[in-house]
C-alpha cells in the first residue's frame, strides 16, 4: 500500500511537472530586451527557453514595435532570424490610426528554432518629430503565417496569435540617453 501511495505521488508529480512544462512552452521568446539609443536606433535580443503552442503549420514569428506615427519617418530594419524578413516597408500602410508598427520576423521559425539562442533585430530610423519629444512604445510577439497570399512575402503575412499584454511597453524619449526594457520568464 505504501509503495502504491508513493507511486501515485510520483505519478502526480511527474504529471504536474509535465503539464507545467507544456503550459510554459510558447511561440514567443521567454527572455529578451529592447534597447533604444535615445536617438534614431533601437535593437532587441530575445531567446526561447521552450517552444510550443504554435497554431500554424508554417509557424512564422513577428517582433512588432509600435510607436506613434509622428516619431519617425523612414525605417531600415535588420534581423538574423532564420528565414528572416522585415516589414518596415509596410509600416504605416495598414497600421492603427496614429501609429506605425515596425516589425521584423521569420517566415518559418517553429522548426528552425534554437532554444536559449539570443536572436537579434534592429531598427534604424530617420526623420520624424523634433528633439525632446516622446512616443508611447509597445513590443508584441505574434505568430504569423502566409494569410493574404500563399508565398513568403511580407505583404502576405497575417497574425494568428499575439502576446497580450505586450512583452514590454512604456515610452521612448528622444535625446534622453539610452533606454532599456527587459522581460524574463514570460
Amino acid at each position: 500500500m505504501k509503495i502504491r501511495g508513493k507511486l501515485v505521488i510520483a505519478l502526480a508529480l511527474a504529471l504536474t511537472i509535465g503539464v507545467a512544462s507544456v503550459a510554459a512552452a510558447s511561440y514567443y521568446p521567454a527572455n529578451g530586451n529592447l534597447t533604444y539609443s535615445g536617438q534614431t536606433y533601437a535593437n532587441s535580443y530575445f531567446a526561447w527557453t521552450t517552444s510550443g503552442g504554435w497554431v500554424t503549420e508554417q509557424g512564422g514569428y513577428e517582433h512588432r514595435l509600435q510607436l506613434q506615427d509622428y516619431y519617425f519617418n523612414s525605417c531600415t530594419a535588420y534581423t538574423n532570424l532564420p528565414n528572416g524578413y522585415d516589414d518596415c516597408p509596410t509600416a504605416g500602410v495598414l497600421d492603427p490610426a496614429g501609429y506605425k508598427i515596425y516589425s521584423f520576423g521569420s517566415y518559418s521559425l517553429k522548426n528552425n528554432l534554437t532554444l536559449n539562442y539570443y536572436y537579434f533585430g534592429s531598427w534604424q530610423w530617420s526623420g520624424g518629430s523634433g528633439n525632446g519629444s516622446s512616443s508611447t512604445m509597445s513590443l508584441r510577439a505574434k505568430e504569423v503565417a502566409a494569410m493574404y497570399c500563399p508565398f513568403w512575402n511580407i505583404w502576405c503575412m497575417g497574425a494568428y496569435q499575439a502576446t497580450e499584454p505586450p512583452l514590454v511597453s512604456g515610452s521612448f524619449f528622444k535625446n534622453s540617453g539610452t533606454q532599456g526594457f527587459t522581460w524574463y520568464g514570460r
Binding site: 530586451n33 536606433y41 535593437n43 538574423n80 532564420p82 500602410v93 512575402n153
Partner: protein
C-alpha cells in the same frame, strides 16, 4: 421642414460622408498595396547593377530588400530615384551596423555580470546564450565591413510600375530572377535566394569551450 426632419437629414448626410470617406480610404489602401511588385535578383547585387536594371524601366522604387552576413533587412523611403534610394539604404545600413556593434558591448557586459564563469561552465544553455551574443557581434562587424566596402546588399526591390509595359520589361530582363505582384495568388515560395534563408553561424565561435567563450566576452568588454 420640421426641426426633427432637419436633424435627421443632417445625421444622414454625416453618416453618408463618413461611409464614403471610409470606402475611399479602403480603395486607396488596397490600390497602394495591389500596385506594388517585388523584383528579385539571383543574389545581392552591387548598387550600380540594381540602378542599371531599374533605371531603364518605368517604375518607382519604394523599398529595397537586403541581405548581408545572415542579416535580412529592408529600407523604405520616399526618394526621387532608385539611385537615391540605394544611397540612403546603404548609409542607413552602415549607421545601423555601427550602432549595433557599439550596443553589443553593454549586452555582453550585462550578461557577464549576471553569469559567473563557474555557472557558465556547468550550464550548456548559458554556453548557447554566450555563443549567440558573440555571433551577433560577428554578423554586425562582417556586415559593416561589407557595407562600407560597397559589396552588394540588395537582392530585391519593391516597385510601383507606371504601366503594364514596365512589368513586361522587367519580366523579360534576364538579370531579373522573378517579379511578383503582392496580390498574385500564384508564384514561388519566396523571393529571397535559398542560400540566404539559413541562420548565420560562425564556426570559430561554435567550436569555443565555455572558458573560451567567457574569455572572449571579457576581452570585448574590457576593450571598449
Amino acid at each position: 421642414m420640421s426641426r426633427r426632419m432637419r436633424v435627421a437629414l443632417s445625421a444622414l448626410v454625416l453618416i453618408s460622408a463618413g461611409l464614403i470617406t471610409l470606402g475611399l480610404a479602403a480603395v486607396v489602401t488596397a490600390q497602394s498595396v495591389s500596385s506594388r511588385y517585388v523584383v528579385a535578383f539571383d543574389s545581392a547585387l552591387p548598387d550600380s547593377q540594381v540602378v542599371a536594371i531599374l533605371s531603364t524601366k518605368a517604375v518607382k522604387s519604394t523599398a529595397v530588400l537586403t541581405w548581408v552576413a545572415g542579416l535580412s533587412g529592408t529600407h523604405r523611403s520616399v526618394q526621387p530615384s532608385t539611385g537615391a534610394l540605394l544611397v540612403e539604404a546603404r548609409a542607413q545600413s552602415i549607421e545601423s551596423f555601427t550602432n549595433g556593434v557599439k550596443m553589443n558591448t553593454p549586452q555582453l557586459e550585462a550578461w557577464i555580470a549576471r553569469h559567473p564563469l563557474a555557472e557558465v561552465r556547468a550550464d550548456p544553455a548559458l554556453q548557447t546564450e554566450a555563443r549567440s551574443l558573440l555571433t551577433v557581434r560577428t554578423e554586425l562587424e562582417t556586415a559593416l565591413l561589407a557595407a562600407r566596402r560597397g559589396d552588394g546588399l540588395v537582392y530585391a526591390v519593391e516597385v510601383v510600375p507606371q504601366n503594364a509595359a514596365a512589368v513586361d520589361a522587367l519580366a523579360g530582363d534576364p538579370r531579373v530572377r522573378a517579379i511578383q505582384s503582392v496580390t498574385d495568388s500564384r508564384g514561388a515560395a519566396s523571393l529571397k535566394p535559398a542560400s540566404y534563408q539559413a541562420g548565420f553561424r560562425d564556426p570559430a565561435i561554435e567550436a569555443m569551450s565555455a572558458d573560451e567563450l567567457y574569455a572572449r566576452m571579457v576581452a570585448l568588454v574590457g576593450a571598449k
